[in-house]
């Protein structure tokens, strides 16, 4: 079977908005059909500057809309008063599809570009943003690997595995359901971590915060502190214990969940709405 690779250059389908001052900046949009429609796929977005907003929908293709974040300097630029911003087609949006894996590339290394992406509801996401943007995901089921160095991450109404990390940004995640066996991990240096799990979730939690505090409305059965040490009989050297990890169980215990923030608080919430 030959591998079908589709490379779509956005210029071919770009919608260039009229250059009128005060209007939305020109955006480009492409639709990427899947080679295995109806089956779960993977979206990979290695993004530089700008936000990535992914929404699950009932379609069978991936639709990407890229907008440059407006003129450099924004409204504050006195010199640009009364002048129209001349768009220069600078998003350079392109996408590649190979066996249901879609990779979206833009010129985001040098320009701030916001991406709005529609994906079929069952899709794995591998999103990373380096600067100047946030990552948002809504209504997607799959494995999510999300990395935003300087901005925030928000996952809403998601189901599946999630490995999320930020340095500066807050992490807010609301899970509809957590299939058993899948790991969850949320790590930040400065950001707070705010996760909402279904009220009937069975999770094994390990959490740690240096400067912050941990809050929850779940009954977390906190186990003995997991000491990072060798069994005593094998210990030839000194015993090592890192006291600051707290282990606990929600429900019967199950999926491994790792929550760590150096300077932010950790909130573990029970979903109020119950199962949708």
């Amino acid at each position: 079977m030959s591998i079908r690779t589709v490379v779509l250059i956005a210029a071919a389908v770009a919608f260039l908005a009229p250059a009128v001052p005060g209007q939305n900046p020109p955006s480009e949009q492409i639709t990427i059909p899947l080679s295995l429609p109806g089956q779960p796929g993977t979206l990979i977005v290695p993004h530089g500057r700008g936000s990535v907003i992914v929404t699950g929908y009932d379609g069978a293709a991936v639709i990407v809309k890229a907008s440059p974040a407006g003129p450099a300097g924004g409204d504050a630029d006195q010199g640009a008063r009364g002048l129209a911003w001349v768009a220069t087609g600078e998003t350079r949006l392109s996408a590649m599809e190979d066996g249901n894996t879609v990779t979206v590339i833009t010129n985001s290394a040098s320009k701030t570009i916001d991406l709005r992406i529609l994906v079929p509801r069952r899709f794995n996401l591998k999103l990373s943003v380096k600067d100047n943007g946030r990552i948002e995901v809504d209504g997607v089921t799959g494995e999510m690997e999300i990395n935003n160095l300087n901005g925030s991450v928000r996952l809403d109404r998601v189901t599946g595995a999630a490995l999320v990390n930020t340095v500066d940004g807050d992490i807010v995640c609301r899970f509809d359901r957590i299939p058993p066996g899948l790991p969850l991990a949320f790590t930040s240096v400065y950001g707070k971590i705010d996760v909402t799990f279904p009220s009937d979730a069975d999770l094994t939690i390990r959490m740690k915060t240096d400067q912050g505090s941990i809050f929850s409305d779940f009954d977390i059965a906190v186990g003995p502190r997991k000491s990072l040490s060798e069994p005593a009989e094998k210990a030839g050297g000194r015993r090592v214990t890192l006291e600051d990890w707290t282990s606990g169980r929600i429900g019967k215990g199950g999926n491994d969940v790792r929550l760590q923030s150096y300077e932010g608080n950790i909130y573990i919430r029970k979903s109020k709405a119950g199962r949708p």
């Binding site: 794995n124 591998k126 494995e143 690997e145 990395n147 595995a161 490995l163 999320v164 990390n165 340095v167 066996g181 899948l182 790991p183 991990a185 790590t187 930040s188 240096v189 400065y190 990072l228 040490s229 060798e230 069994p231 094998k234 210990a235 030839g236 050297g237 000194r238 090592v240 214990t241 890192l242 491994d256 790792r258 760590q260 150096y262 300077e263």
Partner: protein, 266 residues
């Protein structure tokens, strides 16, 4: 007429206690059963001979001699000899009660078990061991396959699996070090670091942890490694951390923490 009954009748006959009519009847019946009359006569002769044998009555002197001998024996060796035997017998020592006997019984059970184990056919045991080894190999193979997976959550599960003590071997250690140094996902790297830290009594693991510092770019990993190095009191870590804070682009709070770590280590 059963043989037993015949035997009894014959003996009665020989004792001559039977009335003569009955005697004749028995003789006839015995003859009918096939007993040779000649043999019966022989038995009678033997019986008479035995009756004639005189059993000597024990004399008075004999009884006296016996008592004397008994007394003498009591006085001298016999008593101490039996007592000595009791003393030598550890199971009969007064004051110890039944404990030694129980102990002996128990040790017999233990020895029995041991002998039984030794006698268990070797192929059975080696097959069990082979099965175990095969299982371990299979688990390691699954672990390694998962570690190579494109899915970060698969790799994460694999690292969680390696926390299991039974799974630990050189291959697993090397795979975890690889994950710590070069996995694409920071959370997988962090979890690998935690699992390795639990094995930090292994000098090879310690070495790998120290070497890993310079390879880390994510502040998350750098901070986590700083924590581990402090907990291990690993002085070799000070140097790579010093190199790191020389970078002006380093995050402020990471720099602060590294400076503190270096101060505590040196």
């Amino acid at each position: 007429m059963s043989d037993k009954k015949t035997e009894r009748l014959v003996s009665e006959l020989l004792k001559g206690r039977l009335p003569s009519g009955k005697e004749a009847r028995i003789k006839a019946s015995l003859k009918k059963k096939g007993m040779n009359p000649g043999r019966l006569a022989e038995y009678e002769k033997l019986w008479d001979a035995l009756a004639e044998e005189r059993v000597p009555e024990p004399s008075e002197a004999m009884s006296v001699r016996f008592r004397q001998a008994l007394d003498e024996a009591k006085k001298t060796g016999w008593r101490s000899e039996t007592e000595g035997a009791a003393a030598r017998n550890p199971f009969r020592r007064p004051g110890l009660g039944p404990a030694p006997r129980w102990a002996f019984g128990f040790s017999l059970v233990v020895i029995g078990w041991f002998v039984g184990y030794q006698l268990t056919p070797r192929p059975e045991r080696s097959r069990l061991e082979a099965l175990n080894a095969e299982m371990r190999d299979m688990k390691t193979a699954i672990f390694l396959t998962k570690m190579e997976s494109a899915s970060a959550s698969e790799r994460m599960s694999a690292v969680h699996y390696a926390e299991d003590a039974a799974a630990w071997d050189d291959t697993v250690r090397e795979a975890l070090v690889r994950a710590l140094n070069s996995d694409a996902n920071a959370n997988v790297r962090l979890t690998a670091l935690e699992t390795l830290t639990r094995r930090s009594n292994d000098p090879r693991v310690r070495e790998a942890l120290v070497q890993s510092i310079e390879r880390q770019e994510s502040p998350l990993l750098v901070l986590a490694l700083a924590d581990v190095m402090l907990a291990l009191d690993e002085k070799r870590a000070a140097e790579p951390f010093r190199k790191m804070i020389a970078d002006p682009a380093l995050y402020f709070s990471v720099r602060q923490r590294l400076e503190e770590t270096i101060r505590k280590l040196t």
